[in-house]
Symmetry: C2
Subunit: 349 residues, 2 copies
């Protein structure tokens, strides 16, 4: 069967080709790295990374798209180095990403991730805590072995930001839906820049550092990643409200169900619209009934919450793309980095 | 009231003076480090470190004895550096120690530590996971900021060992009490060298590295710490069976209650004595009644399990002391390190 190729198909093909190329380089290095662990934590780490099934049976591909490793490798090349120079950084970044998902899923009691049971659901909470710790230890060790002190400094600064962002996100759940204590749009974006942006920023900064770039370039890439993170989180928040479970791998309305205060919700509640006020009184009823959740999602749309999240995503993506094009990065890696960044945000439109 | 001073009082006074001196240097640096965290995780980290009460009210002293930081500082001096050179390492090591206790207590469901409710019992499992992660992130960041790459390498290698040791310890709980699948004394000592020894070894190795010592000295101190860890764990295991709750801060017979396979138990079960065989059949009844626990503790003594654990402790302490005295460390720090090592093991006799 043949069909015409749309521009969006072309972009997807480009992105898949980029991701595939780096997966081919990084995948074996990740596999080798987790072999430092003994059977139990090694199997859990492999499961978390999508390398194997729960019983240890190998899978052919990495579970995630490998976006962060690809960013690291592209940045190593964009800074003038070989892609290979970025491998240890790419491995470290992917391991930290997996670590944060494993612990997040315990904290949020999420039972499914990437269409599979989460690590804690599969192996229990204690083993899952330990496997997250193992992934983090391996990440630090991998980068430390590379002997690039400033790369390790980027990683550890991002780790602190990541934890602060997660803690803020958790603290938001206890804040009221409206009134003086309500979460503001600015607070939310600060949190997202930490929780989601810090790791994207360090993926890029570590890449340029390992590729031979200077501190100013690393700082620009740190900022680039933070903007990309806010944009990514805004789109993720829209999906968390009304995303198709078959695509997101999460239950429908999952963020509303958990009382999360994500960007479209925060905006809707402070929008001073009739829909926003109705939403506040609806969400205060916990636990909300299924019909209420559908109604709440509609009210968020009606008060402009979804449209606002898209505007935020577009604005921060634009800033990230400007940083990529004005920081003196080399082609063709810089262009590919832009393609990847755009894809990351466009996936939801 | 006056009384005569015994030799043991004299040693205790020496040890307390050493610990006090380093606490005075390290305590403010730890306080400053955790101020990088926001309110929530910062308070939890402070509570975990014994710096504050659950509500954030400051306490005057560190909760732990500060043995590991003291080892790092002494090793920095013993390698020819200033004590101050070791501060960042001492902070990192104490933060990693706190991280491992916070996560361990969740995994083991321990409700009390140092005579206070554990972090998860106080703040909940999710926040406790996150505060452990924050402590670890700060530890790596503190050492990375020091710019001593080999110190970070020592820390991350120890982290991997620590996690492997914890995973082995957890896996031992599912192994049978006797027969071909039973845990052996050798396996147990390997586990303890990782779980308890790795961090003591890296405390010492980081200290000598920051104090200007070479790689061979760091390796000798890594081994020294691992032996000290096995000795320490052997004593801790004796206390876990029959220690006074007022001293240990844990419930009486806690290890027996949890089905842990600690050194005296492993030895007793493989001792081929009548008491050992009786113990195996007793422990297979789960959950054990209180009277059973007392009887099991007596059987462990009768089959020589406690005496064996003391012999193991004495042997590994001796090896650690030999490494201290033959590695070319400088006085008076080397002598003080020996005093501290001896105290660490002698506390239970």
């Amino acid at each position: 069967m043949t069909r015409e190729t749309s521009p969006s198909d072309a972009t997807n093909n480009d992105v898949n080709a980029i991701l595939e190329r780096y997966r081919f380089l990084v995948h074996p290095a990740i596999q080798e790295t987790i072999e430092q662990l003994t059977a139990g934590p090694g199997r859990m780490a492999g499961y978390a990374l999508g390398l194997c099934e729960a019983d240890g049976t190998p899978r052919r591909t990495l579970g995630g798209k490998g976006l962060r490793p690809a960013i690291t490798m592209l940045c190593a090349q964009a800074a003038g180095g070989e892609a290979r120079a970025g491998i240890a950084g790419a491995v470290a970044v992917e391991l930290v990403h997996a670590f944060s998902l494993v612990h997040d899923d315990i904290i949020d009691r999420d039972e499914r991730r990437r269409h599979r049971p989460t690590v804690w659901k599969t192996y229990g909470i204690g083993p899952a805590i330990l496997s997250g710790d193992a992934l983090l230890a391996l990440a630090v060790s991998t980068l430390a072995a590379e002997g690039a002190g400033s790369a390790t400094a980027h990683l550890s600064a991002a780790l602190i930001d990541l934890v602060r962002g997660q803690a803020d996100d958790m603290a938001f759940e206890d804040r009221p839906y409206d009134g003086p204590g309500a979460v503001t749009v600015e607070e939310y974006q600060d949190m997202a820049a930490r929780k989601t942006g810090a790791l994207l920023g360090c993926a890029a900064a570590i890449g340029t550092t390992l590729g031979g770039g200077n501190a100013a370039l690393a700082e620009a890439m740190t900022q680039m990643g933070r903007h990309l993170g806010v944009a990514f989180q805004a789109i993720d928040d829209v999906l968390g409200i009304s995303g198709d479970p078959a695509v997101t791998g999460k239950p429908v309305f999952s963020d509303l169900r958990q009382g999360k205060k994500t960007l479209p919700i925060v905006y809707a509640l402070q929008s001073d619209t009739a829909a926003g006020r109705r939403l506040a009184s609806l969400l205060t009823d916990r636990p909300p009934a299924p019909a209420t959740l559908r109604h709440a999602a509609d009210l968020i749309d009606a008060s402009g919450g979804r449209a606002f999240a898209y505007r935020v995503a577009a604005h921060h993506l634009e800033t990230a793309l400007t940083l990529i094009s004005t920081s003196g990065l080399r082609e063709p890696a810089a262009g590919q980095l832009s393609t990847l960044a755009t894809f990351l945000i466009d996936r939801a439109y």
